[in-house]
Symmetry: C2
Subunit: 335 residues, 2 copies
């Protein structure tokens, strides 16, 4: 009997945190490439916070996944069949083929991955979308200047861990917020952040931030939102910048959350808050990855991966990531 493809499909729209019954694994034939397409055998797939939005119906910046469709997401693996001149069998490629063991996709929508540059899984993290998100969000939107203070929550995650390190490369003070003492130790001792605190054991975020940011906050890289943002606003410096990358604290709420209105701070501090998507910087993407790869080689950037084994565990890996189980970039190892 021929080997089959395995796919994780969305079977129900999650209410709050996704649960196992919102997904199902199905077997289907391994796809053949159409003209201009390649077929990738997935080695690693990515689980990222933005996917929670795609599980909803038409509420995100991109179309949601339909019920019965394969869950979307980035993956990296070996090209096993190619009808695109840019790829040969045995190449490694990164593309949004979703949560499945094999995926067919147009070659022009795939990115070749050099296994000699770094392990191919990094194309889902530091040398991929999360890396570019940190890079462009901090540098292009946040525009940190030497000597300024940069605060990031989700500091031990795929994006946050890079935001703080890039801030350090640019001569800033980097302060990280994370959900366990181990994560705080990881970003300070392991990654060189100047300081950090555990938001789950800290009662007064404002007091903690005031202590850790004696010169105020110039850039708040907002990937979390909610109560952490509430504590940040009063401490922002004049002409502070707030790149908005995510709102993970809000993604699994079943009722919209209310919070204190903070628009006044925009006037008193002349703040600029700006949302961005990494896709907005597509034309500069390769240059950013090259620069990050250089920093990686020089040990100016470090990363950690949190590897969950087995395609069948992708839904649990995803939900655990939303809950903060991981330190570093969480990926699912498929083979």
């Amino acid at each position: 009997m021929a080997e089959m493809n395995r796919q994780i499909i969305l079977t129900a729209r999650p209410v709050g945190f996704p649960k196992d019954s919102d997904f199902e694994m199905v077997e289907t034939p391994i796809p053949e490439p159409g003209d201009g397409e390649i077929v990738i055998q997935t080695h690693y797939l990515s689980v990222d916070p933005y996917m929670r939005g795609r599980m909803n119906e038409g509420r995100s910046y991109a179309k949601g996944v339909d019920i019965g469709e394969v869950m979307v997401g980035g993956a990296v693996g070996a090209v096993v069949a190619s009808k695109h001149p840019g790829f040969s069998e045995g190449d490694f490629a990164n593309a949004s083929i979703g949560w499945q063991a094999y995926g067919a996709i147009e070659g022009k929508a795939a990115r070749k991955v050099d296994p000699d540059l770094a392990p191919i899984s990094t194309s889902l993290g530091i040398l991929g979308m999360p890396g570019a998100t940190a890079y462009f969000g901090l540098l292009e939107v946040g525009q940190p200047k030497e000597g300024e203070t940069v605060v990031v929550a989700g500091a031990a995650g795929a994006v946050g861990s890079l935001v703080g390190q890039i801030a350090k490369i640019k001569g800033c003070r980097a302060v990280g917020i994370a959900g366990t003492d181990e994560k705080v130790a990881y970003v300070t001792d392991g990654l060189g952040f100047d300081s950090g605190f555990n938001y789950k054991t800290t009662e007064d975020y404002g007091a903690a931030l005031q202590e850790l940011c004696p010169d105020g906050i110039d850039v708040y890289f907002d990937n979390v939102g909610g109560k952490i943002s509430d504590a940040i606003f009063p401490l922002m410096n004049l002409n502070g910048r707030i790149p908005v990358c995510g709102q993970i604290s809000q993604y699994n709420l079943t009722e919209p959350e209310m919070g204190p209105r903070f628009t006044w701070f925009f006037i008193s501090k002349r703040l600029r808050m700006q949302g961005f998507l990494v896709f907005d910087f597509a034309d500069q993407y390769d240059a950013a990855i090259q620069e990050m790869a250089g920093w990686l080689k020089e040990d100016k950037l470090r990363y950690r991966e949190d590897v969950v084994e087995g395609l069948e565990n992708a839904p649990a890996a995803f939900t655990g990531m939303l809950r903060g189980d991981n330190i570093g970039k969480r990926v699912v190892k498929v083979i």
Copy 2:
């Protein structure tokens, strides 16, 4: 007996809307100019929303007025004594001398007013701080492009009425929100806004905006905040801009107001929200006033003044302005 100066001093920090007993009128000697100073006899003084912040203790972007001090604010009048080479007796000058009949101030902190350009009272409105606020906030921060939709609340006020008209000059659709049907008629029929609605008689702001902004909202000039902003966010277009100029809906609250969190829209719509103060554009101020004066002469800009007679009525004129009693720029005529 020599003529005396009259001053309105702050006697108590208002709680919520200011009341008469928060102010007192006192008589003091008419000041003499020190070296480099001029003395202005006030013809008109300005009442503006920002003054509410100055009545609080250290909560605004500038130092609050101390108890027992003259209320701050812009005024225009005749120079009656000068020890500054730039001013002669009989000149007209605009300066922040506060709520008083005579004020001494350094000549370099005063701006000469040309009574032939327009009535001198306009130096407190369309050709003064409110005019420059509308000009820089919309054009520099909001960056409207031809064919886009600009929404402004407080549309019949000193700033809002200009925002919509400048938007029209730039080829945009201008939609105004105001608190009476008369005001809505004024901005649409009188000032050329494309449409508007009365927020006090409209239940569903979102539905009203959706109808009046069929192509969505590109620039929301936020001078009000609160529930109007809540209705705006879901209707903002991709890459929308939100210059933040004021939050008049919040100034008299005794408890901070809660509102739905809206940061998610920053990501899905890639919004940019930016606070500004007109003082940030001080070096371009004169050029802006000149351009506005030109538009005024060409009848591309119109204005209305709401004149309250008598220095003693300044506190009531101010509080009434906060409540929205005025159509157009409210000034107090002192002599």
